[in-house]
Structure formats: structure tokens, C-alpha cells
Symmetry: C4
Subunit: 252 residues, 4 copies
């Protein structure tokens, strides 16, 4: 039970902080508003913000649930036998609910700034991802490849330290510093691979907030772009399954 | 006694370095002066500076006082029983005195640059926070939510490492690296949640310097905006109490 | 055998993520596109991206191969006796194949954005390095000096922690955090020493992708600048050999 | 003997990498050239570069000499009894020689770019610090206060971890990660306190390169500003002695 709560809380924190940095950069009149429309500095700031959102989500959830915060991670861990399959639906449900609550909180925090911003596209961007150049096949491929890379690398992360003493191996918990590697991986993946689709690399992070976008009475909102919505869901899932398969293959 | 000194010194360092980066970015003719008025890069720089101010304040104070440096943290720790309630007033007094001394030091360091700057608003910003869009109810909510998030996450931080050996758990001090998580949390909270009010998330950090602003003979200063001053005090306190209550509730 | 695979995978990750951040910054219409042509922010972003590419390449490969990911490191380690000379050709071959695969992946990920970009020079930059000011002798010297510095410093890195207990020294694995120092060294070397040639500091990272650039049907591509290609190969090798020689000399 | 070499090498690395990032940002036509004259992004980049220069200088020198790399640190450590006074002149001489060699290397690396740059002031900045607003008394005060803060905080850094086992305290070496705190302190001090004078906070870092500036045949160079040169020497020394005195006073 505790691990279900932890996934819910961790994903709420992840999406609240992650989408808030997008709001802070893209909406008008915020402290960090990208007035000169310099996408480079905007993207660097957003990448740092998302990386730290991961850091905080992981540090809260890790001791209880292992801090997946992403259906792709949950499925990957089930494939390698780290968690039982029967817990997967509960994890994924919590992640979706958390991402929905997180994105409601972003809207509540930045409501006045939504009013100051005209662009419908920007308003959607604070909930869900969208590609720089629309090209469904290529966008799908981009999500597959980004998530493949993220999941494959994550499978090699070792959160704990280790010491060998009298032929026994002891595990060393590194405290909250153990949440740092996941955060740095996300920073690198967004900076390098995010140029095309955003990227979601997490179906809950994208679909949950998109549902909220379509429901909330956001001032001057436009389409929730349902047409695109399957890509940041199926792309990441495909990438995750392929990466985990390769990992299992290489292990043997 | 030592812990009272440590809180005083830590908060002095926190506010001196934290408000100095604001001065370096916002005042005219400094090395880091935001000449092109690019709020995105300004905010990124300020966020890093504040995060490192936390790093340094914590590393000095932690071994002696636990490095609260913030009345919200002190009250939260008293609520969960980590410190006795009777020490709370001494901690909070030290934090206020430290934040006042720290902000005097900022003024002394950047005095010539206050002369070069016209904006009364900028001069106040180097002492205390102010909202991007004035809306008292929403600004209050923003401070509550930011501090809620900060305190809730901070309660899950584990500064030390741990190793299990022959059924006993040994704690591992990680040296000054243990101050890193608090610093990263602040970086993330400012980048993501700071777009609306600044944010204070610390009554001492805001009210102490505001008092100093109203007293010091700052060249061409304007109003200390007392009208707004209760928000970065009561908002953080409310957020802290709510977050700690939720933490206690979840623990049981 | 496993170590050969690890070098291949690690270098693939290194070049895929490293050159992808260059694509994200330099190509048109990406999320991080440097629209205002601000080379300072562009270079800062690229430096962070490359540093994190190193972080991820190292974390995957380190437990299996020691994560050289660079012929200069392999030759240096053979010189100091850390690895046998007869394994060197296998390591270097893997690194070249990995860098070639990595750069193909960059092209696949950013293909639509190559179409949107006119500059032939930018298209080449996403594969291989080129100097700011062409001056072969000085460019060669720049690669020698950058790589000298990188290799010399890297030879002093200690990835593991250590504890002395009852007169015996025990090594402590710090998990994935152990990949951080290499990443920070690359960040510093690129930020400080990269102003002139790029810099490659790694023959595989430069020559492998240059071969791919000359082969792939890249939209509107120009010359692969073979004229310059020997500098980011021989410069780094020279720098590496000199640095390792100095290290060996100082050790005695 | 080894510790003298280590200080020399460490300070060479520190000044070579530290002043190189200044060259990369300020000179014309480099990869990171600050074309839009945006001092905020320039300063952020320079701060990161200097912080990483410290990281690398410390990681090389620490195991042999304790990595002072700064006469202020050496004098402070002698005052608290960490090193004997009779070794102080040897340390300081090495630091000056290292800083001189380091700044020659910067010039060799960026020679072509000195030719492309007109400003005499910028050319000097790549060697030594200069204030934003000339005001000798205040500039002196700024150096005192910056160095005071740096030295005072540094005295509280603990590079090693610690574990208590059967009533004995064992020290844990954290490998190269132990160099991180010093690097982060410099990052914070430069970002926050550097707006006025640069700042030197290290007499060797400023005077050594200034001597080199006056000697080298730099294309189109101007005055070495000897008039100002005593401030970044006496200011830091004063700040260091005051900070160490306060530290000793607080310890008792």
C-alpha cells in the first residue's frame, strides 16, 4: 500500500515541478519569462528544472516504491523481474493520478499568468509535449529512440555504494545523494535528445496532463491536440520494451 | 549556545550570498548585470546563486544546529519532535538577526552599484521578494504552495549514508557533500515554483531584510512595500504547517 | 569479450548524446535552437550536454571495460600498465565503431531539422569538430594542449572511496556517482579550453563521425573537410602520450 | 618536496583553466564568444568555468599538498596549525610560479583570438581582475569581504566522510568527489560576490598573471594596471586573516 502512495506522491511532485518550470519559462510576466524568445536559454532552464523535478520525486518515493514515476520504468522493471507483474497496474494507475494532480497544481500556481499569455500552443505546452516539426512517423521514432536511450542507461544505474569486507559484499546507502544519477540522466536526455518532440519519455507525464488540459477551464485555451496524443504514449512504451529486451539479451 | 550561533552565522551566509546574486544580476554595471533584460538567464543565474547560498549556509551550520536557517524548517522540526519547542524562539530570533546582518552586508558590498541603478523596485528586490503580478490572495496561495512543496520534500531528505553490518545499522557521514541535497531542492523549487512571487519560502529571509531596507539610507530607495510584507511571512508558515501535518499523517 | 561490447556501447552513447546536443543547439527549428545566435549560451548548453553524455557513457561501460570511450585514454592506460597492450586494438576498434553508430543515430533523430538548416558548416559540426580560426599549426597545438590537460587530470581521478580499518585499506564503490568526476572534467575542459578548435580530445569522436558524414546522404551537405581531419586525430594522440609521460615521470 | 610540486601543478591547472574560460567568453571569434554582449550569461559561464578549474586543480593536488592553490588558504591553515609556518613560503612561491605558467598557457592557447580582439581592457581581464567601478577603498573592501566569506566557509568544509564503529571513528575517503565542495563554494562566491571586483580572492591568481601580462608580447595590449594591483593582493590577505581569526575565536 505504501508503495502505491509513494508512486502517487512522487509522480505528483515530478509533474508539478516539471511542468511548473515550463510555465515559468514560457508564460508571460513570470520571473523567468523568456522575453527575448531565446529558445536556447529557455531549453537549458527547462532541462534543469525537469532534472530537479526528477531529483525531488525520486528522493521522496525511492525508499518506499523504488521511485519509478513512469510506466515505462515500471514495465521495464517487471520485464527484468525486479517487481512482480501483478503490481504493475497499481503502479501505473498511481502514476497517472499523480501526473493529473501535479498538472492541476501547475495551473493553480500560474493561473494569473495563463491570463497574460495569448498563445494557445504555449498553454498546451505547460501540460503536454508537442513536436517542433509535425511528422507523425518521425515524431514516433523520436519518442521511441529517446525513451530507449533513457531506459537502457537507467538499467545500468546503481543507486547504492558497495564495500567488500571479509569476502562479503555490503551495500552502502548514500542517502539522498542516491537520487542524483537519475536526475543527471534526465538532464542529459532532455538537453541532447529533446530537440524534436519535447520529449515525453513517460506516458503518464504526457497523457495525464493532456486529459487535465481538456477538462480544466483554462483561460483562452485551444485544442488538446488529441491527434498527437498517442505518440508520447506508444512511443515511450515501445522504446522501453526494446531497451529492456536489449539489456536482457546483453546480460546473457 | 553553539547551535544558536550556528543558526545566526548560517542565516547570515544564506542571506548575504543569496541576496548578493540578486544584486549582481539586477543592479547596473556589475559583472553579471542583466543588460539585455533577459529574465530567463537572470532567473537561472539567481536560482543557482541562491542554491549555492543554501549549500554554504548549511555546510557551516549543519554540524552545530542542523542548519534550519528558516523559521518554517524550525517549526516543522518541532512539530515532528526532532527539536524541543522551547528552543524554537531562540532559533527563529537567530535566523532573523542573521538575515538582517546578511542583507546589510549585501548593501555594503554593492553600495556603488545601488548608486548606478535607478529603479526603486530593483533596489527593494535585493532585500525582499515581490510578486510579478500583484494579487494578494493568489500571491499568498503561491507562497503557501511553494513552501508546502519545499518543506514536504525536505522532510524526506536523508543527509547521511547508511550501512548494515552484523544486524546493526551504522550511519555514514558524507562530509560536506551532505549539504548538496538541500541546495538542489532549493534550485528546483526556485526554478519551477518561483515564477509568481519570487518566492520567499522563508519568513526570516524576507522580513529581516525588509526591515533593513526601511532603515538603511539606501540611495534613491522607494517604499519597503509593507503592504505586501505579511504574505511572505504568513504564506510560508501556513505552507510549512500544512506540509508537516501531511507528512505526519502519511507516516502513520 | 564483455569489455569490447561495453566500449562499443559506451562510445555509441557518448557520441549519440554528445553530438545530439550540438544538433539541438545549432540546427534550425529544434526546441533548443540558438535563434538569437548567442554563442555563449550555445556553448554553455553544448558543454553541459557533452558532459552528461560522458556521464552516461561511463556509467554504462565502467563496470565492464573501465569506460575509456576514447583511444587517448586507452593508450594512456596501456602506457601506465593498467591494461595490456594487446587489448588496445580491440578497444580502439570498438570506440570507432561506436562513434560511427552514435553519429548515424544523431542524424536519424534530427533528420527533419537537417532539412530546415541551410549552413553546410553547421551540418558538419554535428558530426565533427572544426576550428573557429583555421590555422593548422595552432589548431594542432590547441588539440595537443587540450588533450594533454584532460588526460593528465584524468590520471589523478579516483573513482572509488576508501576506508582504513585494522591496518587494511578497503575500497568503497560509490555506485553511479563514481561517473560524476569524469563528467565534470569534460565540462570544465570544454568550457575553458574549447574556444579554439571545438575540441575533439578524442580521435574516435571526430574521425568516426566524419567518415559517416562523408557517406550518409545528408540533405544539402558540404565537404567533410578531410583537409583538417588529421588534426583532431594526431593532436589528441600526441597530447595523450605527452601527458602520460609527464605523469609517469612525476610518479617516480 | 612532493607537496611543493603538487601546489605548483594544481595552481597551474587552476589558472590555466580559470583564465581560459574568461578568454573563451571575452575574446572575439571563439566558440563561446559573448557576441551579444550579454554580461549575465557571460558571468554564469565564467563562474562555472572557474568552479571547474578549482575542481581539477584540487583533485590533482589534494592527495599530496592538501590543494591550497591560494596563499590565503596557506596562511589560514598555518594560523590554525594545520601546516607548519616554515612551509608557508614554499607553498606561496609554488602558487605564484604555477599561476604564472598557467597564464602563459592561456595566452598560447588563445593567441590567434587575442589578435581578433581590440579591447585592451578585455586582454588584461584574461590575466588579472579589474573592478566594474573603480573606487579603491570600496574595491579593497570588496576583496576583503569576498575572501573573508570564502575562507571562513572553507574552514568548515569536511572533505572526508566518517563512520563510527565500536566507539572508534573511521575516516572515509570519498575519492575525487571530495573535490566537489571547494568547487561549489567558488561557484557560489563568484556568482554572488563577484559583481564588483571580479573577484581575485587569491593573490597568486591575480599578481602572477599580471606580471606575465606586463612581460609577454601580447598583440595590442595596454597597461597592466599596476595602480590597482595591490588591491587583489592585500584585500584577500586581509580577508583571510580576519576570517581565520573569527574561526579560531568561535572555536573556543
Amino acid at each position: 500500500m505504501k508503495q502505491i502512495y509513494a508512486e502517487f506522491l512522487g509522480t505528483t511532485i515530478l509533474v508539478f515541478l516539471g511542468n511548473s518550470v515550463v510555465a515559468n519559462v514560457l508564460l508571460s510576466k513570470t520571473k523567468c519569462s523568456n522575453k527575448n524568445n531565446d529558445t536556447s536559454i529557455g531549453w537549458l532552464t527547462i532541462s534543469f528544472g525537469w532534472a530537479l523535478a526528477v531529483f525531488m520525486g525520486v528522493l521522496v518515493a525511492y525508499p518506499y516504491s523504488g521511485a519509478h514515476l513512469n510506466p515505462c520504468v515500471t514495465i521495464s522493471y517487471a520485464m527484468i523481474g525486479k517487481i512482480p507483474w501483478n503490481i504493475v497496474p497499481f503502479y501505473i494507475t498511481s502514476q497517472f493520478l499523480g501526473s493529473m494532480l501535479g498538472s492541476i497544481m501547475v495551473w493553480l500556481l500560474y493561473k494569473d499568468y495563463f491570463h497574460e499569455t495569448d498563445s494557445k500552443q504555449i498553454k498546451l505546452s505547460i501540460f503536454s509535449t508537442s513536436p517542433s516539426i509535425k511528422n507523425k512517423l518521425h515524431n514516433f521514432f523520436s519518442e521511441v529512440l529517446s525513451t530507449f536511450t533513457f531506459i537502457f542507461i537507467s538499467l545500468y544505474v546503481t543507486i547504492e555504494g558497495v564495500i567488500h569486507f571479509q569476502e562479503i559484499e555490503y551495500t552502502i546507502g548514500l542517502g539522498t545523494l542516491g537520487a542524483l544519477p537519475s536526475s543527471l540522466i534526465i538532464l542529459g536526455v532532455i538537453l541532447s535528445l529533446g530537440g524534436s518532440t519535447g520529449p515525453a519519455i513517460n506516458p503518464a507525464r504526457d497523457l495525464g496532463p493532456r486529459i487535465i488540459h481538456s477538462i480544466l477551464p483554462i483561460h483562452g485555451k485551444g485544442s488538446s491536440d488529441w491527434d498527437y496524443s498517442w505518440i508520447p504514449v506508444l512511443g515511450p512504451l515501445t522504446g522501453s520494451i526494446l531497451a529492456t529486451s536489449l539489456y536482457i539479451f546483453l546480460l546473457n
